[in-house]
């Protein structure tokens, strides 16, 4: 596609210039102009002048801006891509300019905690109910006039996308129009996008798999191989389905790209942030130190404590999640954690469908 007529086309918006937001912007840019929102002037300079950001070369169709109003006015289709912890405040900033005909397809794989303090999650006596936490699509709805809401999720490691490797994703929405527009904007020779109408299932697949990625990193960190990893992935999928289903999603969603697909990618990739957290824990580093020295947020850490609390209030057993929790937040070592799982004496093979 030539760039001469690009100025006539309606640009697609991206909110957040983290490594994933940047990769998404570059993907979208293959089909037309893209406006990416970043708060920091140095990031905008990186993108607009240096043409390189987060180790990724910027496509010529991408322009960075800090002007929220302008972005909302010019773009109908917007991909928010900011960490779950700052998603709500981002929505508050954007909300005055968002209207019912905007389409928002978010890419964030984490929960919003609403009024709950993250510290509270570590309090043993604190009970967490499913209606106290929110997915990003719920946050969009709560904080704005936007109704055409979607989610993009799948095995999409930012670094591989940045290296122009082929990949596929899922765009989920209750509105056919949203999946259609999203697919149209992002599909390319190297990027395939499938549609789903189970947005909750697709969101939860992306969120819950992060817990297993930490465990996978732990297994690698302990020096174990493919047998142990496959054990984790299969049993982990079972736990994800059990919890996801209890939270209201259809089981089928977890068998697709955004479920098992993403689970395999994150659990087998040394590149993923959550995997790295697990690997470092297993090699004896302290969680606080890991968080302090990490460049970007590993959503899985918060998700582990949320899942553990939810399992308690929903009365379902999630042995792997409980073990990861104990390894991350109590004195249990990774080795002993694995031992605990090996000593678990209940359950049949496929008990989650």
């Amino acid at each position: 596609m030539g760039s001469q007529n690009m100025s006539d086309k309606i640009p697609v918006g991206v909110i957040g210039a983290g490594s994933f937001g940047t990769a998404i912007a570059n993907l979208l840019a293959e089909n037309g102009p893209v406006m990416i929102y970043a708060r920091k002037p140095e990031v905008i300079d990186d993108i607009n002048i240096e043409r390189e950001h987060k180790g990724q070369k910027m496509h010529e169709n991408v322009t960075a801006t800090a002007d929220i109003e302008q972005l909302c006015e010019r773009c109908t289709l917007i991909f928010p891509s900011v960490p779950s912890a700052s998603f709500r405040s981002m929505m508050v900033d954007f909300s005055p300019y968002l209207l019912p005909d905007h389409i928002l397809i978010h890419t964030t794989k984490g929960f919003d905690l609403g009024d709950i303090d993250e510290e509270q999650l570590l309090d043993i006596d604190f009970k967490l109910k499913a209606n106290q936490i929110f997915t990003m699509s719920e946050v969009i709805r709560q904080e704005s006039n936007v109704v055409r809401i979607g989610c993009l999720s799948g095995p999409n490691l930012a670094r591989e996308l940045a290296n122009h490797q082929p990949a596929a994703t899922v765009i989920a929405s209750r509105f056919d129009e949203v999946t259609r527009e999203g697919q149209f904007a992002i599909r390319s020779k190297r990027f395939q996008a499938y549609a789903s109408n189970d947005i909750l299932g697709v969101e939860l697949g992306g969120i819950l798999k992060n817990t297993m990625a930490i465990a996978a990193g732990g297994i690698r960190g302990l020096g174990y191989g493919q047998n142990a990893l496959s054990f984790l992935i299969s049993r982990g999928l079972g736990e994800i389905i059990r919890l996801g289903n209890a939270l209201g999603a259809e089981k089928e969603a977890f068998l697709g790209l955004a479920g098992v697909g993403d689970l395999i990618a994150t659990c087998t990739s040394e590149l993923s942030r959550n995997f790295t957290v697990g690997r470092r824990i297993a090699s004896g580093e302290e969680l606080a130190y890991i968080i302090e020295t990490s460049d970007e947020v590993a959503e899985g850490i918060k998700t582990v404590s949320i899942c553990k609390k939810l399992a308690e209030s929903l009365d379902i057993r999630l042995p792997i999640v409980e073990t990861i929790y104990s390894v991350l937040f109590t004195e249990l070592s990774a080795e002993d954690g694995l031992g605990r799982l090996m000593g678990y004496r209940r359950g049949t093979d496929v008990d989650f469908m």
Binding site: T76, N145, R174, F175, E177
Partner: protein, 555 residues
């Protein structure tokens, strides 16, 4: 009584009644278009007609009603004959399709005419005068006083409370089209709402009454002339359902203030609706889009539709016994409509009104704040407001890249969203009566006293077990009432005035009023002063109304 907002001659329902023929034409065209769109493939239309024919034959044979016209069998026999003769195997495809379209039109036309009601303003005025007299006669007779001491309208006035932003609703009724969506407990709801709306000066609403009600000459006569259109719940074939939707949509587009029960049928369990039937609700969303299309075509401002949720509160529901029995029998099976309930007898209806208006039993119609079809609140002028309280241009809900577009799937999602909002509004608008609370607390206590029994075992337990000591009951009442007051402060529900009394009074008031019509009392005080039930299923029915507020843990 408030002054009427308009003269009867200006009422939308009357204007629509005057162009009845035109509207019937529009309904037929709209329904034809939608059915053809839904079944576009060659031969599909014939299949649908054949299926409808089959279903109608079964209905005529197994579920005939008095109200059914005598020529039904003949009509469908004829459809059958023509369908058979035009079989594409015998003739050519083109001819077969043309015959299918012709037959479809015949069926749609028949249905449309059947559904269409008739508003007779003279009859309306007449009914307004005679009905209160009818009640007042009962009232005076029951008091053993001389006729005429209590003025006819006072009975209705005293017993029927209409609560909510009445002035705003009156105002918006002249700015746009009102869609009144009540919860549904009793067949008498529509009549009571009719009184209520008249009381606050609104013009008559168009509403769909179950065709089974027209089996009764008394009801049929009243409803037919008061603007009710007819809904036949036996007919579940797609042609009928599409015709019904087109009927509703066309009338709303023409500005008819409309009333329907989004729960579909009466609440069997006694609980406030949590799941709504979205078919008719969807036609309202469509109608709003049509308003924007018409405005774009003809210029001017688009007419606006306002949704008014309405929660009805009673101390007793005439049909409670039948309803709860049906609810308990219905274990996932397709529901079979029984028409042989309390409404089969005029005497029972008479008795209901006697109980309502003569004894100290109140009915509250709690009107919610009008919202637009997307669930956004509105200001006094009817402008939609977003949650920042900024004005919101709702046309944008129907546009893609700035252009108005009919997107059926999108509108279905909007309908879902509206349904979710309504369910919330119903709960928030619920005016809690003493009788609801005593029923809730009593049943929960019985449940707790039998922790090992499931619901059905508990319902089968012997009557001697249905007893609670007064102290025990009173203690739980204290806690629940306290929590209810908390919930009212949070806007989660409303409390009737009598709920402000002290707990002992609330208990007495509740027990006195709960289900006073029933021959066996759901709740009463024994001679020893304990709380007993004579009919635990009825108690369950009244208990269910308070479900969903998280009150069990306070018992």
């Amino acid at each position: 009584m408030l002054e009427p907002v308009q003269k009867v001659t200006d009422w939308p329902i009357l204007k629509i009644s005057k162009k009845k023929d035109q509207i019937i034409e529009e309904v037929i065209e709209d329904a034809m278009l939608n059915i053809e769109k839904a079944f576009p493939k060659s031969g599909e239309l014939r299949e649908i007609i054949a299926r409808t024919l089959y279903l109608e034959k079964i209905r005529i044979k197994h579920e005939a009603w008095k109200v059914d016209p005598p020529d039904e069998s003949k009509f469908w026999d004829n459809i059958k004959k023509e369908l058979f003769e035009s079989d594409p195997a015998k003739t050519d495809k083109e001819h077969a399709n043309q015959v299918a379209l012709k037959l479809l039109r015949e069926i749609v036309t028949r249905y449309t005419i059947e559904i269409t009601g008739n508003f007779n303003p003279r009859f309306y005025k007449f009914a307004k005068i005679i009905l209160p007299h009818f009640f007042s006669r009962m009232l005076n007779a029951s008091n053993g006083r001389i006729r005429g001491i209590i003025k006819p309208n006072e009975a209705v006035d005293h017993r029927l409370t209409v609560d909510g932003p009445i002035e705003k609703i009156r105002k918006l009724s002249q700015k746009g089209t009102l869609i009144l969506l009540p919860t549904h407990f009793s067949n008498l709801d529509s009549i009571l709402i009719g009184f209520g709306m008249d009381k606050i000066g609104l013009s008559a609403f168009q509403y769909g009454a179950g065709l089974n009600l027209f089996n009764s000459k008394f009801f049929g006569f009243f409803m037919g002339n008061l603007g009710a259109y007819k809904l036949d719940r036996r007919k579940k074939n797609p042609i009928y359902l599409e015709t019904l939707k087109s009927f509703s949509k066309t009338n709303v587009v023409h500005g008819a203030h409309t009333l329907f029960f989004p729960g579909g049928t009466r609440s069997r369990s006694g609980a406030i609706e949590t799941r709504l039937k979205l078919g008719l609700l969807g036609t309202v969303v469509e109608a709003q889009r049509v308003h924007f299309e018409q405005a774009e075509e003809n210029g001017g401002e688009a007419k606006k539709i306002f949704i008014v949720p309405l929660t009805m509160s009673y101390h007793f529901v005439l049909e409670a016994k039948t309803l709860i029995e049906e609810h308990l029998k219905r274990t996932g099976k397709e529901f079979y409509i029984t028409i042989d309930d309390e409404f089969s007898s005029l005497y029972k209806i008479y008795k209901f009104f006697w109980q309502t208006f003569a004894k100290s039993s109140d009915i509250t119609l709690s009107l919610g704040d009008p919202i637009d079809i997307f669930g956004n609140k509105t200001d006094e002028e009817g402008n939609s407001l977003d949650f920042h309280d900024n004005p919101l241009d709702i046309r944008r809900y129907f546009t893609s890249r700035g252009e108005l577009k009919a997107d059926h799937q999108r509108e279905m999602e909007y309908t879902h969203m509206l349904g979710d909002v309504l369910v919330k509004k119903y709960k928030q608008g619920n005016v809690v009566f003493s009788s609801h609370v005593v029923a809730f607390v009593a049943f929960e206590l019985l449940k707790k006293a039998n922790p090992k029994s499931d619901l059905f075992t508990l319902l089968r337990s012997p009557e001697e077990d249905w007893e609670i000591t007064y102290d025990n009951f009173s203690l739980s009442m204290e806690k629940v009432v306290k929590q209810l007051r908390q919930l009212e402060r949070q806007g989660q529900l409303k409390l009737a005035d009598h709920m402000n009394r002290d707990v002992a009074d609330i208990i007495n008031h509740g027990i006195k009023n709960i289900g006073i019509y029933h021959s066996k009392e759901p709740l009463m005080k024994s001679e020893e002063g304990s709380i007993i039930s004579q009919d635990i299923k009825l108690l369950l029915f009244y208990h269910n109304r308070m479900e969903g507020y998280g009150l069990s843990k306070y018992v």
